[in-house]
Amino acid sequence: MPLTEESAFELNDPAVISETIDGETIIINLASGTYYSLKHSGATIWSGIQHAASVAQIAALIRSNFEIDSEDVERDISSLIDLLFEEDLIRQKAPGEPPARLAAPPAEMRLSRYQAPILEKFTDLATMLLLDPVHDVNEEGWPHLPAGKLDA
């Protein structure tokens, strides 16, 4: 996917939920039953995406908050965003929408040594959802089918 510095993203709400703890983000896709662990600088990038930051803003955030001796920050961000897209965890933010305030990275990660993000994927529980195939969610969290899906 072609990215520009102004490209911004948002979580694929409401199917995608996440929590960051101890510098690691746990992401669950309620629609597919797949879940993920996002480590190292990934938690900061995820936080930027959550706050609709642009790619340039996320890169600046990382450069100002980590000890970096790598020139690959932008490439790492771009690769992770591609992966998150492929996994249907994020979507591109509509152009013209104002960016939300950018959040600082998790406190425990600030000024630590930069490490490229790692996204680990787990599919072992997906069958649990396949047994209960309707699991779309609305904003309140209760799954529901989108209109028309019953007619499929």
């Binding site: 929590e19 703890i21 879940y35 969610v137 969290g141 209760w142 799954p143």
Partner: protein, 381 residues
């Protein structure tokens, strides 16, 4: 069995309420005909819950696992389960015909009419559950069982074709989904976890199926630690998390029974599940070892090592969140983000350990006791 709804059907709150009223009336008729209707009350999630069953067999099916939290009759309960079966009473279940008249054409309309928090579950092209914040309807096609609940009036109806139709093995954790739905109102979540401890504090044992949760919890039955649950607990994740006992059952594979002498002695009393597990009802075996709940002082991430010795080491809370969050969230996706946020909040404030359980069962409670001592010492410091 009432005619089953089709996936294309929908249900308005008015239709649900009509179905539900008919269910209550049907139960009243079955109860009036019953030779010895049973009424038993329990303390669940801090509330008084009454089970009204039309036969002893039904009461055993749904109440035996809760025997340890039974209370003397307190009069008007907060919530009542009305349970009957057609085989013994001749009274059919609540007719679902109203559901088949497609009053609404799309599910977006259902969410509008039933309430924002609506959950429609479809399996094998048939609606099996319609769960809203106030109304709950579940149709178990395979076992011919219909259960429905109406939170505002504090009632549920549970109809079975026959008490012995494929449900026996489920009496180890009866009505789990509906109880979870109802208890969430009070800030409780049913979690797939074991819990043991002392009166002043305990641990939550999390991990995947087969990771040794049950082993670790059941091993404590032979120790000074008390038992809250081996597979499911009601977890209150407020500022001071509490794991509350729901079922006083213990499940073990028959092949592992030799490691647990007290339970092995009572093997004849156990119920056998189709998957080769024995379900023990602990109220009748070790009533003094059961606790209704404990404040959670630490979270243990279990892993069965296969070695002789049990070892405990600190774990990252993210590991525990990955294990308990993924399973418990995906099991009940209808709760959305709430459980994950609550688990994360709890794990940020509690110490986490990885327990590698070994084959020498006696080491497990000692290891857990040492975790509790460490957690308590760190709280005091």
């Amino acid at each position: 069995m009432p005619e089953l709804p089709k996936a294309r059907s929908a249900l308005s709150p008015e239709s649900f309420d009509e179905i539900f009223s008919r269910g209550l009336a049907a139960h009243a008729r079955a109860e009036a005909l019953a030779v010895g209707p049973i009424r038993r009350q329990f303390r669940i999630a801090g509330a008084t819950v009454e089970f009204r069953a039309t036969s002893i067999a039904l009461a055993m099916l749904f109440c035996d696992a809760l025997a340890h939290i039974e209370i003397p009759d307190e009069g008007e309960p907060d919530f009542t389960f009305h349970i009957w079966d057609e085989a013994s009473s001749g009274i059919d279940g609540p007719s679902l015909n109203g559901w088949e008249n497609t009053e609404l054409s799309g599910l977006s309309e259902i969410t509008e009419h039933v309430g924002l928090n609506c959950y429609l579950q479809v399996a094998h092209d048939r609606i099996t559950a319609l769960i809203g914040s106030d109304r709950y309807l579940q149709v178990d096609h395979d076992r011919a069982m219909v259960s429905a609940a109406h939170k505002p009036t504090g009632n549920a109806v549970v109809w079975l074709r026959s008490h012995n139709q494929g449900l026996k093995w489920e009496c180890g954790s009866p009505l789990l989904t509906m109880i979870n739905w109802w208890a969430s109102e009070f800030g409780y979540l049913a979690v797939h976890a074991g819990s043991v401890g002392r009166a002043d504090g305990g641990v939550l044992i999390v991990g995947r199926s087969g990771s040794g949760k049950s082993h670790a919890a059941i091993a404590c039955l032979e120790s000074d630690l008390f038992y809250v649950g081996d597979d499911h607990c009601l977890l209150s994740t407020n500022e001071h998390p509490i794991s509350t006992s729901l079922y006083s059952t213990a499940k073990l594979f028959l092949t592992d029974l030799h490691r647990f002498p007290t339970l092995q002695k009572n093997e004849k009393e156990a119920l056998l599940t189709p998957e080769g597990k024995a379900v023990f009802f602990l109220k009748g075996i070790l009533p003094d070892r059961l606790l209704p709940g404990v404040p959670v002082r630490a979270v243990l991430l279990s892993h069965f090592s296969g070695r002789r010795d049990t070892q405990v080491q600190p774990a990252h809370p993210s590991e525990a969140l990955l294990a308990m969050g993924s399973y418990n969230v995906l099991r009940w996706p209808s709760f959305g983000r709430t459980p994950l946020a609550r688990f994360a909040s709890m794990l940020r404030s509690l110490p986490c350990f990885r327990i590698e359980t070994g084959t020498d069962i006696s080491q497990i409670p000692r290891a857990i006791a040492s975790v509790l001592d460490r957690a308590q010492a760190s709280e005091t410091a």
